[in-house]
């Protein structure tokens, strides 16, 4: 007998799923009415500002806050000493984890500042300008230390230590070796060394990728009120209100029940708005002053001290037979953690060879401390760097084999049953279908223009499930008010509401979804890991089924029949034995008051059946060989969504991911001088793509339903950023015959590569 899941997966005649309703929060967002974090205001509000280290790496000899504290209008000045030392433990945040002691030393430096922009002290004053003025009155004596800024230098013996107490955890064992390497791990499948002997062609290359920022347009913010009853309320724009509650309560030594987080609308996150920065400071300043305190970062602070994602150094070696079968692969992946230990090589290692069925793989991963901000998730964290390496090597192999790059990928494609190097065996995945879709696209079949290069690359992201809750109350007019805890960054209110509407046979517009605070809904993990439409959508689906069951009971009561005799189909409750007895959802909703009162459905889920996502990109570029500038002429992404609940917002995720990937490929990077001072902390100098830099981006949705979700959803947010840098690099090679192995492939790097090919020195 087919399970309910299989029955749904076979279903194609959805009424709501797959349509494109206008998002529920849309009118507020196009009229400027939606309230984001920086828009919050409260009576008696004070404003906080942060003093940050001007040095890349320095010891704090002394801090004197007395002059700042005496400045007119200043109400309080705090340093790390105002925060007790928490237990030495780690809290999972959904995407990444926080060691509480590191979190404390990141929100305010403890003894040393580990990167340019590291927070040292915070001030609350009557207004933001007064607080800013008073920052200049804080006197700090630093001993400037040598900064270490990339993994190669950081891993050398005798390199300056970012943390003098850091030792390496190597292959699961603690060691005593003092090092900037916090972790070395290895994945081993088969015997790669031996298998390389059977390869006819082996390509081994070395890659570097720059530190890049998530680049959300809304700066971080946090407002807190420590009330006289000891309860703390926090307003902020975050990807996860519950993870903020957890972090704030731990740093303030409060039980979670005393912290309420009210999530505002959020202006982008991409993985960067999960860890707290300002919220604990605002709360402590509020405790000291008795007033609510609001803090908002400047753009410079955002770039200097939040995010970014890991720069990396990767070596990638792959071997293939002359028939085109991949037989062995090895990777060395060293990723920057920033000033505190991190873990982005780990997810990168799960993705680097995932699109391929290779029986012999060895991957060594290294998480490395450097004097940069503590790195954070950025859309498929670790995977974009990894794919830049592996997908460029694959392209070179295809060239040597004289094989079509998609045909080669199809021949070696991972499919259901393929084991990934880090262990898991793939369930039903859409890798092959995605490749075939790309192969059949007009773009791929089109003839290239003169001087145009075309590149192809694939990518994988595993997606996550985690925990979500929802409740939904039936209104007597036949609508449903849906309450959920996933902050809505890209239309997820609607994609979640649509799953509830589908179950109940009502239009999406008949659901009023609200994202509420941590006291008003059950625990819900971050909006991240491509999990929101998958997991919170599942919670809404379960809540709807709960409503359906309760409503069936009411129908049975009204008709004085057994509940077993009630069926629900297409939005209509009916008696199986007496077809005359039927009520639409709306009609029955109108009778709730007389049949036992309100109905509230609820669900809390932790789904396990996460479905990984694959994407393949085709890109055409033109390269100006005089200036080195690369122009993106045409871009197409085929991606397996499992099931696209709201296709417009799936396309939006794909197009947005591709745009960010192109920025990463061509322009974006952190420029540090040798002292570790960041030179480009503005949006003029940190160059993200503008409308003029990009063409239309064709988003081709492939649907291979995920058997682990009632509607087949996989999650779509992250994988689209994975292929672009490699696809662009392969297109540049096709255009001008040079392989770029460094990101970004900015004009200077392209010219340098061209000159080195031509045997010319620098002009």
């Amino acid at each position: 007998m087919a399970t309910e899941t299989e029955a749904y997966l076979g279903k194609t005649d959805y009424k709501v799923i797959g349509t494109r309703p206008i998002r529920h929060d849309g009118a507020d967002k196009v009229t400027g009415r939606a309230i984001y974090g920086a828009d919050v205001t409260l009576s008696g509000l004070l404003h906080g500002k942060v003093l940050r280290s001007p040095h890349g790496h320095a010891r704090i000899i002394s801090i004197d806050t007395s002059k700042a504290a005496a400045h007119p209008g200043v109400k309080s000045v705090i340093t790390v000493d105002d925060f007790e030392m928490p237990e030495d433990k780690i809290r999972e945040l959904g995407e990444g984890a926080a060691n509480l002691r590191h979190l404390r030393s990141n929100v305010l430096a403890d003894g040393k500042t580990l990167y340019h922009g590291h927070a040292v002290a915070a001030i609350a004053a009557v207004d933001a300008n007064t607080a800013e003025e008073a920052l200049d009155l804080i006197e700090i004596e630093y001993e400037v230390l040598e900064a270490v800024l990339d993994t190669r230098r950081a891993m050398e013996d005798g390199a300056p230590l970012v943390d003098e107490n850091q030792t390496t955890q190597s292959l699961g064992e603690k060691t005593d070796k003092k090092s900037n390497v916090s972790t070395h791990f290895q994945h081993k499948l088969g015997d790669s060394a031996k298998a390389f002997e059977s390869a006819d062609i082996i390509v081994e290359r070395e890659f570097d990728t720059a530190t890049v920022h998530q680049g959300y347009i809304e700066p971080h913010n946090g407002t807190a009120h420590w009330k006289s009853d000891g309860h703390v309320t926090v307003w902020c724009s975050t990807q996860g209100s519950f993870p903020v509650r957890e972090q704030v309560s731990q740093l303030l030594m409060l039980p979670v029940s005393k912290v309420k987080v009210i999530p505002t609308e959020i202006g982008g996150g991409f993985g960067g708005k999960i860890r707290v920065y300002l919220e604990p400071l605002a709360a402590m300043l509020s405790k000291k002053t008795g007033h609510p305190v609001k803090m908002v970062m400047s753009r410079t602070e955002v770039i200097q001290a939040t995010g970014p994602t890991a720069g990396s150094h990767i070596r990638c070696k792959m071997g293939v037979t002359k028939e085109g079968k991949l037989v062995a692969a090895e990777a060395y992946m060293a990723y920057e953690s920033g000033g505190f230990p991190g873990g982005w090589a780990a997810p990168g290692s799960m993705c680097i060879f995932a699109p391929y069925d290779i029986e012999n793989v060895t991957i060594d991963g290294f998480e490395v401390l450097v004097n940069k901000p503590q790195t954070m998730a950025y859309r498929a964290p670790g995977a974009t760097n990894a794919a830049f390496a592996s997908e460029t090597v694959i392209d070179e192999i295809c060239e040597k084999l004289e094989m079509d790059p998609i045909a080669f990928r199809l021949q070696n494609a991972a499919k259901e049953g393929t084991r990934r190097a880090d262990g898991p065996v793939f369930p039903r995945i859409g890798n092959v279908e995605t490749l075939k879709d790309a192969q059949s696209s007009d773009h791929y079949k089109s003839k290239k223009g003169k001087h145009v290069g075309r590149g192809v690359a694939s990518g994988f992201w595993f997606n996550v499930g985690l925990k979500s809750s929802a409740s939904a109350s039936v209104n007597t007019d036949g609508t449903v008010s849906l309450v959920e805890g996933s902050t809505d960054i890209g239309g997820s209110r609607t994609s979640i509401a649509m799953q509830l509407a589908e179950v109940l046979g009502i239009p999406a517009e008949s659901v009023n979804p609200s994202v509420v605070d941590t006291d008003s809904v059950g625990y819900t993990d971050v909006t991240g890991g491509s999990r929101t439409t998958f997991a919170t959508g599942w919670a809404a689906y379960e809540a709807a089924n709960d409503i359906k069951a309760q409503m069936s009971g009411r129908a049975a009561k009204i008709w004085e029949i057994s509940e077993d005799d009630v069926q629900f189909d297409d939005g209509v409750f009916a008696s199986k034995s007496d077809p005359e007895k039927k009520l639409t959802f709306k009609e029955l909703a109108g009778k709730l008051d007389d049949t036992g009162g309100p109905i509230v459905g609820r669900a809390a889920v932790e789904p396990q059946g996460v479905g990984g996502a694959f994407a393949t990109m085709i890109v055409d570029v033109e390269v100006d060989t005089d200036t080195g500038k690369v122009e993106i002429l045409r871009a197409t992404l085929s991606q397996d969504a499992g099931k696209a609940i709201h296709p417009s917002y799936v396309e939006g995720q794909m197009q947005g991911g591709v745009a960010q990937g192109i920025g990463w490929a061509l322009n974006e990077e952190y420029f540090y001088n040798e002292r570790g001072e960041l030179a480009n902390s503005s949006l003029l100098d940190y160059r993200m793509p503008t409308a003029l830099d990009l063409p239309m981006i064709e988003a081709r949705i492939v649907e291979v339903p995920n058997p682990g979700h009632p509607y087949g959803v996989r999650g779509v947010g992250e994988v689209p950023i994975v292929p672009p840098p490699a696809a662009v690099a392969n297109a540049i090679y096709d255009a001008i015959g040079v392989r770029l192995q460094i990101l970004p492939m900015s004009p200077a790097k392209v010219l340098a590569a061209l000159w080195s090919k031509d045997g010319k020195g620098k002009a």
């Binding site: 009229t31 400027g32 680049g215 809304e218 982008g268 396309e651 939006g652 409308a691």
Partner: protein, 158 residues
């Protein structure tokens, strides 16, 4: 710091406020006049999230001192919809899913409206050039450009 008295026409209404000489128009709009639809993304004119119309020109309100608006006409995102409904651009942004997080959306709508008032039939390239001062990190611009193109057609028919 002594404050200066300023009178402007704001979204069609004569409006008075007091400001310090160092305060930007964006600060006054958001903090004093409670018009928080204009957003601060960078504070130095690179992102366009604070775009408003000042005497018929699109400006970054973070780069305009509030005292400069004496006698000026200012239109913000809050002044674009009417009691009759949304402006065609706002409607098309919704229909085309041209926003994700929505933080850049007010700036884009203000800037795009200024373009369509100048030029009824801008090409895709022209729209991209005009909007190059407004950064969006979510959408890749595709759906924004389509929404502006569709709004142009709708406004022409109206």
């Amino acid at each position: 710091m002594a404050k200066t008295h300023v009178t402007t026409t704001l979204n069609g209404e004569e409006t008075e406020f007091l400001c310090e000489p160092r305060q930007t128009l964006l600060e006054i709009l958001r903090d004093d006049l409670n018009l928080t639809g204009s957003k601060e993304g960078c504070g130095n004119g690179n992102c366009g999230a604070c775009s408003v119309m000042l005497n018929g020109r699109v400006v970054d309100s973070c780069l305009v001192l509030a005292v400069e608006t004496e006698g000026a006409e200012v239109t913000t995102i809050e002044g674009i919809a009417t009691p009759e409904g949304l402006h065609p651009l706002q409607q098309k942004f919704l229909e085309h899913a041209a926003l994700q997080c929505g933080i850049c959306t007010p700036g884009f709508i203000v800037a795009a409206k200024a373009l369509l008032e100048k030029e009824a039939h801008p090409t895709e390239e022209r729209i991209r050039l005009w909007l190059a001062g407004n950064l969006c990190r979510c959408t890749g611009y595709d759906k924004i450009i389509r929404a502006v193109q569709d709004a142009a057609e709708t406004m022409e028919k109206a």
